[in-house]
Amino acid sequence: MTIFVIARLTFREAARRKILLAALLMGLIYLVIYAIGFYFVNQDIANSQFTTGLLELNQIRNFLFMAGMYVVNFLTVAMAVLTSVDTLSGEIASGTVHTLVSKPLQRWEIVVGKWLGFVGMLSLYLLLMAGGTILLVYLISGYTAPNVLRGLSLLWLNAILLLGVSLAGGAVLSTLANGVLVFGMFGIAFVGGWIEQIGSFLQNQTAVNVGIISSLLIPSEALWKRAAFEMQSPLVSALGFSPFTAASMPSLVMVIYGLIYASLALLLAIRLFNKRDL
């Protein structure tokens, strides 16, 4: 299958260009720092006279766990965008695309092949980073957060969604313009998410609406919030405001919207690449 030839090429290119190596190295450093930090904080709170109950301890552990997942989410998203941002535009600009497209294959096979290659890479990366975090937390403190699988699926969807946007942009824009576009959208989602959060806390409906609109524009922050909601302990959310608790939790409709968004982004990428003169 031609799709898998392209997928493999994409994967190998990331490996050869040492992108994977850099990402894994940074990921490893994160895990080491996280482990050290978690170990000492965990020791501290376990020996403290103020935190005695297991429930209380686990809330703090959950908070630390969420901090880790926040970083994992960010790293995975950055990886999704940075690796894919030039995959179409770069090949078009350099002319390497000519020998590919003049082969007896259809253009959608190139887009889907690349998409698959990146999906494989991102899945592996997310699994290593998130899996590493979960394992470390468990090994050090014996704590496991609830609904981890559901949370990870949402982080995965978030990465795939941004990957789709980056491919679609890359089919028509230059690498630089595409990077500005995708990170710009990510920024909008980020700010919108916080406005919604604060608006909800202060019960300001306008701020909440701004947040919702930005989430419709690009639902990546909403997906993170939903993932955070799934993985936080029920008590933490009952306690109220923390940076990782969602005061207004994105609904399931938003998750479905995210799924549709990610699919449409891929379809758009195929369509745009199909029409492009190379």
Partner: protein, 304 residues
């Protein structure tokens, strides 16, 4: 048998610029077809349309019996792009394997084929070398090997000798000759007229995206030719007598020139001169070269 390439009134506009105005071409199976024109005449755009890299604004065409843009039309097509930019982090062998896979060539056929082609283009000792370390000429060679992976029925070569030294150019010429002998159609996009002159059966001249004329190169050889003569003791009567073979007779001291309608008239005319007491020092036929023809057809404005 149907033509390899057949197009009717292909047109491509980029914004308000017309790259190809009206391209109607018929390339027969098995011929080596030269596509000539000044820079910016729309040669590369035309080739890209034939390969489905660019969709035409209007017009239609067929390549190997399939409509333009249909991926099946590219199954038996090879293409060496003009700037031969490839994935340079691959080694020569990996590069050929990748493109062989894209041609869907099964591995038991592909592996020996890669070896053959590396040898054909003289890169068998650079099999494991990354393309990043290749010189321009080596890249062109590996690009050529890539275009022949699927034993194509039709090969597009876009300026195949631009990066090559004389040895490489001869190699390309030999490969084109072998392809022709094997019945492969070659579409050669070039402005290296001497190359085209040696290798092509027919040439099309294009300017501003329009085919001006299509010539068989045989007719160039068989057509009329100008002869330059250096001789003494030419009297006016002899000069007048020359009119039976040619026209445009000019005499300037020892130098005569006239245009013969056929090469076959040369010995007869020579005998006539000698028999009439003319001292002949030199007779030089000046064939119309492709370059002359190019200037004649396309004009001297050149490309911009």
């Amino acid at each position: 048998m149907a033509n390899s390439i057949s197009t009717q009134a292909l047109r491509k506009e980029f914004g308000d610029k017309t790259a190809v105005a009206d391209l109607s071409l018929d390339v027969e199976r098995g011929e080596v077809f030269g596509f000539l024109g000044p820079n910016g005449a729309g040669k590369t755009t035309a080739v890209k349309m034939l390969l489905g890299l660019i969709s035409p604004t209007s017009g239609r065409g067929e390549v190997l019996g399939s409509p333009l843009g249909d991926h099946r039309s590219r199954e038996k097509v090879g293409f060496l792009p003009e700037h031969f930019r490839f994935h340079d982090w691959l080694t020569a062998e990996e590069f050929l394997r990748l493109h062989g896979n894209l041609y869907k060539i099964p591995s038991p056929i592909l592996t020996p084929r890669i070896g053959e082609l590396l040898e054909l283009v003289g890169l068998e000792n650079h099999r494991e070398k990354k393309l990043r370390a290749f010189s321009k000429g080596m890249l062109q060679r590996i690009g050529l090997a890539q275009a022949l992976l699927n034993e194509p029925d039709l090969v597009f070569l876009d300026e195949p000798t631009s990066g090559l030294d004389p040895v490489g150019r001869r190699l390309v010429r030999d490969i084109i000759r072998d392809l022709r002998e094997g019945g492969t159609t070659v579409f050669l996009n070039s402005h290296m007229l001497s190359e085209v002159e040696i290798t092509c059966d027919r040439v099309a001249f294009i300017r501003q995206g329009e085919v001006l004329t299509t010539n068989s190169l045989q007719s160039l050889v068989e057509g009329e030719l100008t002869v330059e003569i250096r001789a003494q003791n030419v009297n006016p009567a002899v000069l007048e007598g020359l009119a039976q073979w040619g026209e445009n007779i000019r005499a300037d001291g020892d130098h005569l020139s006239l245009t013969l309608s056929s090469e076959a008239d040369m010995p007869v005319m020579t005998r006539y001169l000698v028999e009439n007491g003319v001292d002949v020092y030199a007779i030089r036929p000046k064939q119309l070269s492709l370059e002359d023809l190019f200037i004649q057809v396309v004009g001297t404005e050149g490309g911009l």
